[in-house]
């Protein structure tokens, strides 16, 4: 009756605890246990990132206009962390916020598994015409909206005029990607690179944007069926072009977007231009302050002379998690942030709007407004917002994202970067990428056809 008896006691305790935990954990399946709740009185939780630094101001204004609703904002850092946090809450079956900020490309991922609320029941579908089509289309699943766009990211060409002048390149002559290629050669001769691309997961968004602009459809999703085609006409155009740039050492393949090296290279002129979303100015101003006055912006080069397409590079939205029991109040907040005064405030603090009314407004393109003055100064006096607003209204080829977009993004870095370091051709890298995407889709229960 001493220590020896202790072991079976311990073992049975452990077994009991395990059984308890299994029953508790096992019940955490996906749920639509939410409710509309009271539209006028609620406390809603909001997860997102606060890149403009204006969240507290926005929330204060909303609460003033809606005295019964309080908003608890938790900054979840960045898009990736927010989406991971939401995935964890969904897996646990509880803890998800009422309103969540998500990158447009990941909305479908959560909509497919029923973790986001269909906003049609709150009248969201009627607001379609108020937004530019690029971001709006990305938030539709089965024809219904699952998120409301906060911003849009039409791609434009930002370039360092000082470096261009030194290389003897006239940016106004760059109308097509072939012109871009010629300019790249001239710039390389001066020691700088026209741009960077290392095929990392941070270069995934620009890839989807530029491939979309070329009319490529590397994947199509139709309910439970996915078709992968890394070799369609648009993809071939894209791959051939970038292979040329890689082979002739015209792009810096050692620097990934958003790395510290990237900021420094932009700051000292070794990266001469960026084809990236219209939300870039505020990042450029903070990351490359030494180049103030040197940068300019213009429309994206085209694949065929005379066309005027752009593409969506990134963009975020607000959605309601299906666990929310305050969905009506949550939608009120979303309305404020995306359609109402909140959208206007955000556009004044660095967010590039998705609302047509703001893009077309006089104050948005007014070069003398405070917000615009600082930006335009950095861009040597150019009326930046005028050009960006033009870009936002350009036609965009519809581009679908995979329901497992975050996997596609991570896998892109693993599979495509060997091509940028010269270990294989870009076409082969995309072939491997297609196979991996197909494999993952099959594992997730989709019926996948790989047209390779």
């Amino acid at each position: 009756m001493r220590a020896r008896k202790f072991t079976p006691v311990l073992a049975s305790l452990a077994a009991l605890a395990t059984v308890m935990s299994l029953t508790a954990c096992g019940s955490g399946s996906s749920s639509s246990s939410g409710a509309q709740g009271d539209a006028d009185n609620a406390e809603i939780t909001f997860w997102g990132w606060d890149s403009g630094g204006s969240m507290s101001k926005l929330i204060a204004a909303f609460e003033k206009a809606n005295p019964g609703i309080t908003v608890k904002f938790s900054s979840t850092g960045n898009a990736e962390n927010t989406q991971t946090a939401l995935a964890n809450a969904v897996a646990a079956g509880k803890g998800a916020p009422d309103v969540v900020m998500l990158e447009d490309a990941t909305v479908m991922q959560f909509a497919v598994t029923g973790d986001l609320v269909d906003l049609k029941q709150y009248g969201a579908a009627d607001e379609a015409d108020k937004f530019v089509s690029g971001p709006w289309n990305m938030l539709q699943y089965n024809g219904d909206p699952y998120g409301m766009p906060i911003d849009s990211g039409p791609e434009v060409l930002f370039y360092n005029k000082a470096v261009f002048d030194k290389a003897g390149v006239n940016a106004d002559d760059i109308k097509t990607w072939d012109d871009y290629y010629e300019a790249a050669k001239k710039i390389r001769a001066t020691g700088s690179y026209i741009t960077n691309n290392s095929g990392s997961s941070m270069d995934y968004q620009p890839f989807t944007a530029q491939a979309a602009q070329a009319g490529a459809k590397p994947w199509t999703v139709d309910g439970d069926n996915i078709t992968i085609d890394m070799n369609d006409e648009g993809m071939q155009k894209y791959t051939a072009f970038w292979q040329k740039l890689i082979d002739e050492d015209l792009v810096d393949t050692s620097i990934a977007n958003w790395s510290d090296d990237w900021n420094r290279a932009l700051n000292d002129g070794t990266i001469a231009s960026l084809t990236i979303g219209a939300w870039m100015p505020v990042n450029l101003m903070s990351g490359a302050p030494d180049q103030s006055g040197n940068w300019r912006v213009m429309q994206l080069p085209q694949w065929t002379e005379g066309e005027d397409y752009t593409a969506e590079d990134g963009g975020s939205s607000l959605a309601i998690s299906s666990q929310s029991t305050n969905q009506a109040a949550a939608y009120k907040f979303i309305e404020y942030m995306t359609l109402g005064d909140g959208a206007v405030t955000m556009s004044e603090t660095g967010t590039f709007p998705a609302l047509k009314s703001i893009l077309n407004s006089d104050s948005f393109v007014d070069p003398d407004s405070d917000a615009n003055k600082t930006t335009n100064e950095y861009f040597g006096g150019q009326n930046v917002n005028k050009i960006l607003a033009e870009a936002a209204q350009r036609p965009v080829n519809t581009f679908q994202y995979l329901p497992y977009n975050s996997f596609a993004q991570t896998e892109y870095g693993d599979d495509i970067s060997p091509a940028y370091t010269g270990k294989e051709t870009l076409a082969d890298a995309f072939k491997t990428y297609g196979e991996k995407l197909a494999e993952h889709g099959t594992q997730e229960g989709y019926t996948v056809t790989n047209k390779d």
Binding site: A17, G199, S254, W258, T410
Partner: protein, 299 residues
Amino acid sequence: MQAQGEPRVNRRRRDWRGWKFMWPFAAVFLFVTVIPIFYAIYISFFQNRMIGGTVFVGFANYVRLFKDPLFWSAVGRVALFTVVQVPIMLFLAALMALALDSMKLYGTKFFRISSFMPYAVPAVVSTMIWAFMYSAKYGLVGSLNDWFGTHLNVLSPSVLLAAIGNINTWEFTGYNMLIFYSSLSTIPHSLYEAAAIDGASEWQIVRRIKLPELKGSLAITVIFSIIGSFQLFNEPSIMQNMVPGNAISSSYTPNMYAYTLSFSGGQTNYAAALAIVMAIITMAIAYLVQLKSMKEQMN
């Protein structure tokens, strides 16, 4: 005889009294470590698909794991890392401990603290600063390149693992040195006096008195280091975006692979199977090492 009854009663009372202190830790340990392990084993027999929900699949995840080239190359990588980095680090730690203990060093206290300080710096901070220094364009290596006209790139794929090993060694040598140093401090000074009387040289003292004493703590540090190196995650994960050419893939080490599978790929069940298999591999190796060292100690 009363002596026979007393030990019995004492032992039983000692048992439960001990648990009065232990139960908070035991409870937390149970819920935070033991139960998640059982839960991981449980979910590794399922798959949670986007189309079809949660499905029981038996050993399918394990079969997929054994055929997975990414997993095995990651295991190979950390195994190589361990085999090279652990001996180097422990050798340096032992050297430093012996130097400190020799009492012939000026500024013993300073060296004791300063060699332990890297351990106190958070891994994220250490790794980021080292990665900045390693940058061949804008870091310390870049500056060295400019001064000496060289073209060193310590972050190129062929030497990347060694660069990470360097950071790891810098971080943990002090910690291991402290363990060695404290076991050296337990040697009674009468042994040194006896050796001096017998006319032993410094090197003979080290070889015959100090090194055998280190063998005990060596067993511990070796096992901790092996387990730690197999779990390599912090350094490569933080350096992922800072390394040119994307040399650190998302499955660079087994832990990174499990992380990517869970949070990017949404395949937590497969990641659980991976974690279980990794744990078994690590435990097997640690056990083998312990067996060997126990045999040595018994001789």
